[in-house]
């Protein structure tokens, strides 16, 4: 299926894009992240969380949405 990945903050500098759509045929978010880390090796040592449907989820969750958001540490306020 087609999945749109969004990158915020520092992560968009690593990937040099804020958003991209890729093909993904597996099940878990961790499996999607493995593919992204192959595409962007500098992602591996970055601290980030992932959100689907506007909620943070753990990497071993199933991908349930066609959008996954990668978020670096929050620094608002």
């Amino acid at each position: 299926m087609k999945v749109t990945i969004k990158y915020f903050g520092l992560l968009s500098e690593v990937t040099k894009c804020e958003e991209e759509t890729i093909d993904f045929s597996k099940t878990l978010i961790s499996e999607l992240l493995e593919e992204l880390c192959i595409k962007y090796p500098n992602l591996i040592n970055k601290d980030f969380q992932v959100a689907q449907n506007q909620e943070l989820v753990s990497f071993d969750t199933k991908l349930l949405s066609n959008e996954l958001v990668l978020l670096p540490p929050f620094s608002g306020g």
């Binding site: 969004k6 915020f8 903050g9 520092l10 959100a51 506007q54 909620e55 958001v69 978020l71 670096p72 540490p73 929050f74 620094s75 608002g76 306020g77």
Partner: protein, 147 residues
């Protein structure tokens, strides 16, 4: 109150002192209020590796951020005896010395506002996907990390 509708807390650029003064003035018709407590986050001109922070450029995952701000609002109204609550956060560039976060709580009694304000600010810092890019005077940058 229209607390049930999720509205954006984001403002483009710095939050002005006039805006804050006007917000205070609007509460003077609410005569059950006895105590207000206001938190303001201001951009510091930190010195990092001999370079001075000139501004912070804020971005956010806005949909999730507004949803989180809404959850924090609901939780605060649930936990504390509040008459009203307002939260504003900047997006875009805020220069050193300017205000980027304005949290305003009001209650009949002071204990509630002290407890509520600290709760809300800590929740914002930890749960809302906002990202600050510290721009140095030489135009280089680094990504801010909250302490």
């Amino acid at each position: 109150m229209s607390d049930k509708k999720i509205k954006s807390v984001f403002i483009q650029g710095a939050i002005s002192s006039e805006f804050i003064g006007e917000s205070i003035a609007k509460h003077q018709t609410k005569i059950s209020i006895g105590a207000h407590n206001i938190f303001l986050g201001q951009v510091r001109a930190d010195v990092i590796d001999n370079k001075i922070v000139a501004a912070i450029e804020y971005t956010a995952y806005e949909d999730m951020a507004n949803a989180k701000f809404h959850e924090i609002r609901e939780a605060a109204f649930e936990k504390f005896e509040l008459t009203c609550m307002h939260i504003y956060h900047s997006l875009g560039t805020v220069n050193a010395g300017e205000i980027c976060l304005f949290v305003f709580v009001s209650s009949p009694h002071r204990k509630a506002v002290f407890d509520a304000l600290e709760f809300i600010v800590e929740e914002i810092k930890s749960k809302v996907p906002v990202f600050g890019k510290e721009i140095f005077e030489d135009n280089s940058h680094q990504w801010k990390v909250n302490s």
